[in-house]
């Protein structure tokens, strides 16, 4: 293995930018997404949803719908198994309300019919009698004693007394003497913040095709970030054995965390079971907004003390999150991540989750972290303004580094925060002059990154090509990255390798594509599987040459005798070994399965220049640069894509995206017209700077990169807007009416 002058490994194919393997299929329309799979005799499944934010379901009369010509099945919660495990039961009840409708759009019944028109008519024929209950959608209101209770008796033991029953979860992290730390500060800033729930906003609505036969076997094709998790959840919800349910993941039109659970899949299975025919369910956009996972909505108080030369002496935060109508632990992530960028003598975070009449939270890139870090980075910025300090210098002064005890406990190993901050400081963007009325904002961001259960097979084909079989849907270019790592390890060209994503029957369990885990964990398993295949190929060469297996090594894609004592044989390439494999012991395959550990944390810094129209409150993003530590960028174009995509989603979150509820608790903007993700013309080119501080936990140094980039934009933009307007902003999104109001209040 060649090393460069800094002792870093020199790569042959890792770090190059081959054309994406899914590109042609996607631009020609040939790629099969969730709704593209059909089966003979297939029925159309449609779901009836509650028009109320909170209501007791007094009765559901399905008889008229069942009697309709063309209606083959009607189901309600009665058609599902009794699930013991509380969190799986929550998933089940989220898919089909049981006794109470908990939010506007909560599913209450479903039909399967021979056509969309019949299905639509059948939904109208189902008579549901509701007893409307008082509702609550605001997290602070939901926590107060006396608030309408969304679900009773769901609180864990450590929740302090005095709150509403909606408060289900409490956590606490930190170290040091916070009171003593605040006593040492020259300036203390305390502020309260609110962030709206936002949706992942993937283009492809959830879609699936379920086919269950009378002998109890089932197949499910769906758009998901994790077919194995879909299998476990659906098997539990349907009362089936996992082996009887095969789940195949389709090509995916975006997920961002939102497709890590199930919404329509158990419904389609139950309909198929009852109808005895395949059933396809495709959500409308309206259903996606109303009934799939947005993020948590939050309310956060942050207090930070600083000396006049910029040292943080103590920090504290209270975070109140709502993950909708079901218990949710996402606040843990926020409470852990909030101060992770800082080396602090004293820090304490407290988190609460409260139930509200909103859809069940689903993961969204770095779940829980953007909100917490937005609040923290806003207060750090305000302190810099008040104390007249450079915001990058202050972050460098307080930056977490190797050996820092993190705010959530562990001591950091090699991390890239200081290098990332220094790169930002040295970049021309940080020194570019600003025009009149313009301002610059910046923020740090952090995400843990995860490893997890992973299983990979690598098959050497007789023509010298290689197939990698992995179990994680490709949501950001992982097939290319996996092929690159296999090519690197095997020493063969990238285009000899094809990576595919297997169904649940074809491979051992793989955790969901989440936590920025895939390029790290699946990559690591692929490298190990390649090494396994290499060992076997060396064994075949040894057999052919009649020497010991240990006397053969693998160099540049070929088996060679190890040293002069092993004997003199010309190298045998992978293709040559593969071509004769049937004569030397049969097919050659490598395999690896493990529970991956050692995913290195990742930090980023974002710089934004912006301008606020003081007469309308509209913010224009003028320039944007993302700096991020990728450990090792396996396919730099995809890494840049992640950094740009995260920044853009964060810009939308900061400026316009929000779940808007009416006084009746109904969602007002369940569509892309009024749920405003940024359009291309809203954005400048998002510049990227990739840092590579190798992760000691991966042979190539890879760190996950997919989540960190959505973390800094919220505060970076809020800090910019606050500086441009002269008013400290404390609520997201900073939509024009909200910004104009703040400007006018300032006078």
């Amino acid at each position: 293995m060649a090393l460069d002058s800094n002792g870093k490994r020199v790569f042959k194919v890792v770090g190059t930018r081959p054309a994406r393997p899914d590109g042609v299929d996607k631009v020609t329309g040939r790629a099969l997404y969730g709704a593209d799979v059909s089966a003979p005799g297939m029925l159309v499944g449609r779901i009836l949803r509650s028009p109320h934010a909170h209501a007791r379901i007094v009765s559901i009369d399905t008889s008229a719908a069942e009697a309709m010509q063309g209606v083959k099945a009607v189901i309600t919660s009665r058609d599902f198994a009794v699930v013991e495990d509380a969190s799986t039961r929550d998933v089940q009840v989220n898919c089909m309300a049981d006794g109470k409708a908990l939010y506007d759009g909560h599913a209450v019944a479903a039909v399967a019919a021979t056509s969309a028109a019949v299905a639509k008519a059948a939904l109208k024929a189902i008579k549901v009698i509701y007893e409307v209950l008082p509702h609550v959608t605001d997290v602070d209101a939901a926590m107060k004693a006396g608030s309408p209770v969304v679900q009773a008796s769901r609180a864990v033991e450590n929740v302090p007394k005095g709150f509403s029953e909606n408060v289900t979860h409490h956590c606490e992290f930190g170290h040091g003497d916070v009171a003593a730390g605040f006593a040492k500060a020259d300036k203390i800033v305390s502020r309260s913040f609110k962030t709206a729930a936002t949706h992942q906003g993937y283009i492809e609505p959830h879609a699936c095709l379920a086919s269950m036969t009378s002998d109890g076997k089932a197949d499910l094709w769906c758009c998901t970030q994790g077919q194995f998790n879909v299998r476990s959840l659906c098997a539990s919800i349907m009362g089936m054995e996992a082996s009887q349910l095969r789940v195949t993941a389709s090509e995916i039109g975006g997920g961002f965390g939102g497709k890590t659970t199930v919404f329509i899949e158990p419904v389609a299975l139950a309909l198929s079971k009852k109808a005895g025919r395949p059933v396809k369910v495709v959500m409308t956009r309206d259903e996606v907004f109303k009934a799939t996972g947005p993020t948590v909505s939050t309310s956060i108080d942050v207090k930070i003390g600083m000396t006049k030369d910029g040292r943080i002496t103590a920090a504290e935060a209270h975070m109140r999150y709502s993950g909708g109508a079901f218990p949710c632990g996402t606040v843990d992530m926020g409470a852990m991540a909030g101060f992770a960028a800082y080396d602090l003598p004293a820090v304490r975070t407290y988190g609460w989750n409260a139930l509200t009449n909103r859809p069940k939270e689903a993961a969204y890139r770095a779940p829980g972290a953007p909100q917490a870090i937005y609040a923290v980075e806003s207060v750090v910025d305000e302190l810099c303004q008040v104390l007249k300090l450079d915001p990058l210098d202050v972050r460098l002064l307080n930056a977490a580094r190797k050996g820092t005890q993190s705010s959530y406990g562990p001591v950091f190993d090699d991390i890239g925060l200081v290098a990332t901050l220094e790169a930002a400081k040295a970049h021309p963007h940080y020194h570019a002059p600003l025009g009149a009325g313009q301002a610059r904002g910046l923020s740090c961001g952090f995400w843990f990154n995860f490893g997890g259960n992973t299983c990979v097979s690598l098959n050497v084909n007789t023509d010298g090509t290689v197939g990698v079989t992995e179990g994680n849907p490709d949501i950001g270019g992982s097939r290319a990255s996996i092929s690159l790592m296999a090519a690197e390890e095997l020493g063969i060209p990238y285009d000899r390798i094809r990576t595919i994503i297997a169904d649940t029957a074809s491979l051992g369990h793989n955790d969901v594509t989440d936590g920025s885990r895939v390029t790290f964990s699946v990559g690591l398993a692929t490298i190990k599987a390649a090494q396994d295949a290499i060992r076997k190929m060396c064994g075949r060469a040894a057999k052919i040459w009649g020497i010991d297996e240990e006397a053969v090594e693998w160099i540049d894609g070929a088996a060679v005798p190890a040293g002069p004592n092993a004997g003199k044989f010309p190298p045998m390439s992978l293709a040559e070994i593969a071509a004769v494999s049937f004569q030397t012991g049969g097919p050659i395959a490598g395999h690896h399965e493990f529970n991956a550990d050692g995913a290195g944390v990742s930090f980023g810094v974002h710089l934004v220049d912006l301008e606020v129209d003081k007469e309308t409150g509209a913010t224009k993003i003028l320039r944007y640069t993302v700096f991020q530590d990728a450990g090792k960028a396996v396919h730099p174009a995809y890494v840049e894509g992640q950094m740009q995509g995260g920044a853009v989603q964060g810009i939308g979150w900061a400026l316009n995206e929000e779940y808007i509820y009416g006084a009746d608790g109904r969602l007002q903007n369940a569509g892309f017209l009024d749920y405003r993700v940024p359009v291309a013309s809203d954005l400048p080119m998002i510049d990227t700077v990739i840092l590579e501080i190798p992760n000691p936990g991966h042979p190539y140094g890879v760190r996950g990169v997919g989540e960190t980039p959505i973390v800094p934009p919220l505060a970076a933009i809020s800090n910019g807007v606050s500086r441009a307007t002269g008013v400290r902003m404390s609520e997201l999104p900073m939509s024009p009416p909200r910004v104009l109001k703040a400007i006018m209040a300032r006078g």
């Binding site: 316009n656 359009v679 009416p737």
Partner: protein, 287 residues
């Protein structure tokens, strides 16, 4: 649902009149098809008027232009004469939707869909445009400002439809402009909008002004006081402030997900000022 594509205006009027159920006209379809797909309307009869003679043409008439009811937004943008005469009218129509929508959407459809936020309407009202309406009882001309009567409602009678919209001749030093506020830069619905049409004399004094606002009331508003605030001025700050105040005073908006009453009222004045400046410059005035 029945679909018809008549060849004569008389046949179109008869079909629309004879159908007892809900009818819709299919011009560009960019509202009606979306509404049908969303289940907001289930028409018994859809009459496609794109086959009627002359309905897709822009014709010079009496120094102005007669715009056929099925002329698409993109076609307006490509008409040099119309653009030179009424740039604000064209700019309003061209703001509708995206490139794809522009290939289909029409001013008449925008007007008859009767959204308070319709982008092509305020500039037509400021221009004093007149719609030619055909119906079972013959032809009549109606001021564009009199067509919408409330959100989703028009003054057209059973069987009536718009065949064309006429924008009049202009004196030499005259122009117009349209601006809307949206939270994004495109693909959005006006939170408030303003169109200003000005005529100037040789020294840049405003001799006539018409100001119309969108999305701040149930229908487009022609604000006479706002126009009056500009006449006899050279668009000095005091005149612009008076214009802005008159516009804000004329607003009767709603509070909704797109904007608050306060916000809409404020920015209607801001937009009117900015549109007035653009129209003034276009008319050859030196600010």
């Amino acid at each position: 649902m029945q679909y018809a594509k008549p060849k004569t205006v008389a046949e179109a009027a008869r079909l629309l009149k004879d159908e007892a159920g809900v009818t819709r006209i299919l011009a560009g379809g960019t509202d009606v098809l979306v509404q049908m797909k969303a289940g907001m309307v289930e028409p018994a009869l859809v009459v496609d008027i794109k086959g009627l003679p002359g309905i897709r043409e822009i014709v010079a008439e009496a120094g102005g232009y007669r715009i056929g009811a099925c002329v698409a937004g993109a076609e307006l943008g490509e008409h040099a004469g119309l653009k030179a005469l009424w740039p604000g009218v064209v700019e309003g129509a061209e703001l509708i939707g995206s490139t794809q929508v522009q290939g289909r959407c029409t001013q008449a459809g925008n007007l008859c869909n009767a959204s308070p936020a319709a982008d092509s309407v305020p500039a037509l009202v400021a221009a004093g445009a007149v719609a030619r309406v055909i119906g079972p009882d013959g032809v009549r001309d109606v001021a564009v400002s009199d067509v919408p009567v409330g959100p989703g409602k028009t003054s057209l009678k059973k069987g009536e439809f718009i065949a064309s919209i006429f924008v009049p001749a202009r004196p030499d030093r005259a122009s117009d402009a349209y601006l809307r506020f949206i939270p994004r830069t495109e693909m959005d619905i006006a939170v408030a909008s303003a169109a200003v049409s000005l005529e100037l004399d040789g020294v840049g004094m405003v001799t006539a002004a018409r100001v119309a606002l969108g999305a701040v009331a149930p229908t487009v508003r022609l604000v006479e006081a706002a126009g009056a605030a500009l006449v006899g001025t050279r668009l000095d700050e005091a005149a612009l402030d008076a214009l802005s105040a008159a516009c804000s005073a004329a607003c009767a908006p709603i509070d909704d997900k797109r904007g608050t009453i306060e916000f809409r009222t404020h920015i209607a004045g801001v937009l009117a000022k900015r549109a007035a400046r653009i129209a003034y410059t276009r008319a050859g005035g030196q600010a």
